[in-house]
Amino acid sequence: MRLRRTMLYLPGNNPNMLLRGHLFNPDGLVLDLEDAVAVREKDAARILIRDVLKRGEFGSCEVTVRINGLDTEYWRKDLEALVPLGRLDGVRAPKVDDAATVKQLDEALSEIESKAGLEVGRTKIFCLLETARGIFNTYDIATASPRVTAVIPGGEDLTADLRTNRSPEGTELEGIRRNVIVAARAAGVDALDTVFPRITDDEGLRKETSFIKQLGFDGKSVIHPNQIPIIHEVFTPTEKEIERAQKIIAAAKEAAERGLGAVQVDGRMVDAPVVKRALFTLTRAGLLEEGQDNA
């Protein structure tokens, strides 16, 4: 499984960030053609992102583009310019309200992939849920195409649609985050949290990240590189957690070898869900190679 603790937005018309973003070692990048680019700069940003994608140097980051909304005239041009390069892992679609939007995007992607001689289905879809309708339809959206790999509740747009605003405590997003996580797990996709807008409030970010991690989120969108180490720290298991997970895996392995059903570690029963969680802990700690985690 691919870690998506942090996905860093890079303003699409800013060469400095587009070229350097990967150096900050986020798990993923979101090259942004939507809100970060003024309407009259969409063309220049598209050319710039195209050339940066051609160059292709993004370290080990998962590379995605936030395209313009499917209710605009730009999104198809965005896809046509960028998808055929074969460097994109996925597109992040704004304001996804229903399954039909996903299907429309899925079809457009298939057409472009096939025309470019790329494997059809290789471009994943990340769905931004920025309206009450989108939140309400989360499960349908997440299951509308096998391309959908993550759902992401919105921040500002969503709270506006709910006729409220974002508070430091996040009261207004609490129920939404719980709903999204349930739908995401039911659909088998990742749940990624919205950005934390106060970029100098390190403690606030730490608190919010701990909260969404506890809810079950896989990661968070990021608007400033300085937020990355803080989020990674929260998501990185402690040495104690790692030690316990290693013990559990070892015990489970031994039990399997000896044909035993269940064993105990530190006085607690180790059953399948416990092993699964331990494997997950080690993955997050970067201690499992890819492909090894489904053992």
């Binding site: 350097r20 150096l23 900050f24 100098t200 400033h224 590189p225 300085n226 180490p229």
Partner: protein, 516 residues
């Protein structure tokens, strides 16, 4: 043409400088003979005040004449009024052909250009920055400038390479008998470290103050027996330019990233243990390294022995919180540092000689574990250039770069790989300030590049597992790929600057830029 050990062409004789000694390696040159000394003078009880009415009277009393050498310290930094005031007065008094021997010059001194053009100043031995540097680079001075490090300068004075006729010492506080103090008064600057050697070796010492207090002043930085004349100005400097406000840790993500890699390198090194000593300076990256190191020291329960160099409020906090036992301060950068040096006995004022002179019985830099330094460029051999900019203009002084690099056990250059399109790693630096033999590592946003002669550090980083290593070849290749080929700097044959290694040998020369 003869070449020094780094392959740089150094003429045997340079007009306006004299015979050269080529740089032959860090410790190759050995001193001979005795220390030089100032003129003997006597003072008896018929003279109990050294105060003269004004600057011109002081200059007249000092015996300063055309063709002589005058020295200044730079503790008032960009707030300094004294250099300009003294040279203005000399000009009005008809004194010409002076050799200016400052410990450093700042933007505020660009006014000197008119005195260079009119012939009041004939040559400069010291750093040339900003507009003066540009003018010198374009051939605006007949005599080449001589650049020395903070340790090389006192070496030149005590060895007699440079004789100071009159040292003008800006003093934030003085009494009528010449006891001087830097940490008190409206123009307080903290340490007076760079002024000591000049005061001890000049034939005449003139203190210039704007805070005359009754005898005896206390505390005393520089005692009365070095000082010949005292004079009072309304103001010796602008406090806003003398000390900076509270220095904050950078929020720039690129600089923070480089700082984090640098601190991981330090943590992985064998020097990160109880009693570590370090110098990190006041730059954005180095201050952030200090912050990351503090976290690591806390986590691993380590305390440092001393912090050295230019001291900031951040270092003062480290002292107060017990992360270092002492501060050794040659220059105080901000108000917190000024306050601390006045109050805290563990915050020690040291002279440039004490700090960095290679030709004494032992400078503090020799006791240094780790230093973080900057660079404009570095080459495949780890030679570092801090003096010239990408376009070949001589715009920066050496500072303590050579001395701390030579003294410290771990010398780290931290610098973004790219400043705009200009890379900090090149095949060969345009001019050498500090040789690769005393440089251990370069830290950029692409990772940590270790000098191959420090295999032990490579091993330590690999063992630590969290230090991203990148070889010099990889880094240079990356710079080439991103920036493309550079055009050569076009120069005349004439030498406009001489860069001395701290022992007085010539490590490189800088040529006049061709007119565009």
């Amino acid at each position: 043409m003869p070449k020094n050990i780094l392959g740089r062409e150094i003429p045997e004789f340079i007009e306006g400088y004299g015979k050269t000694l080529p740089f032959m390696g860090e410790h190759a040159r050995k001193p001979e003979g005795n220390r030089a000394g100032p003129k003997l003078r006597s003072t008896f009880n018929d003279r109990t005040s050294k105060v003269v009415p004004d600057l011109k009277a002081a200059i007249a009393a000092s015996g300063l004449k055309s063709g002589m050498t005058v020295s200044f310290h730079h503790h008032l930094r960009n707030g300094d009024f004294v250099v300009n005031a003294v040279i203005d007065a000399c000009s009005e008094m008809g004194i010409r052909d002076l050799t200016l021997f400052p410990t450093a010059l700042f933007g505020v001194h660009k006014k000197l250009i008119e005195h260079i053009k009119s012939g009041v100043i004939r040559r400069i031995m010291g750093s040339v920055n900003g507009p003066i540097g540009q003018m010198v680079s374009e051939g605006g001075m007949e005599v080449p400038v001589v650049l020395r490090s903070h340790g090389g300068r006192p070496r030149a004075v005590v060895s007699g390479d440079v004789r100071i006729d009159v040292a003008f010492v800006a003093a934030p506080t003085a009494d009528a008998y010449g006891n001087l103090c830097g940490s008190q008064g409206k123009s307080a600057c903290g340490s007076l470290g760079y002024a000591f050697t000049d005061a001890m070796f000049a034939d005449c010492v003139v203190a210039v103050t704007d805070n005359l207090v009754p005898f005896p002043a206390a505390p005393v930085s520089m005692p009365q027996f070095h000082v010949d004349i005292v004079t009072v100005l309304d103001s010796i400097g602008d406090p806003a330019g003398i000390v900076s406000g509270t220095t904050r840790i950078t929020r720039d993500p690129l600089r923070l990233l480089i700082s984090k890699y640098a601190s991981r390198l330090i943590e992985a090194s064998p020097y990160f243990k109880e009693g570590i000593s370090f110098q990190t300076g006041a730059g954005g990256i180095s201050l952030a390294v200090t912050a990351f190191m503090k976290e690591a020291m806390k986590k691993r329960e380590i305390r440092g022995s001393f912090g050295l160099g230019g001291i900031t409020g951040y270092f003062v906090d480290l002292l107060k919180e017990g992360y270092v036992e002492k501060l050794m301060d040659v220059q105080s950068f901000d108000l917190e540092a000024v306050k601390s040096i006045a109050e805290n006995p563990n915050h020690i004022e040291i002279s440039a000689d004490w700090y960095a002179n290679p030709w004494n019985a032992g400078a503090v830099v020799n006791m240094l574990d780790v230093v973080i330094l900057g660079a404009t460029e570095m080459d495949r051999d780890f030679n570092v250039n801090v003096n010239t900019e990408a376009d070949g203009a001589l715009l920066h002084g050496i500072g303590g770069h050579q001395d701390t690099a030579a003294g410290a056990k771990l010398t780290i250059i931290s610098q973004p790989l790219l400043r705009g399109r200009i890379p900090c790693v090149v095949d060969q630096v345009y001019s050498v300030t500090t040789p690769g033999e005393v440089v251990d590592a370069l830290v950029t946003e692409y990772g940590v590049t270790i000098n191959p002669r420090r295999k032990d550090l490579v091993d330590a980083c690999q063992a630590a597992g969290n230090v991203p290593l990148v070889t010099m070849d990889e880094l240079v290749a990356r710079a080439h790929e991103m920036c493309g080929p550079t055009d050569p700097v076009e120069t005349e044959d004439r030498i406009i600057g001489i860069i001395e290694w701290r022992d007085g040998t010539v490590i490189d020369v800088v040529k006049q830029l061709k007119k565009k």
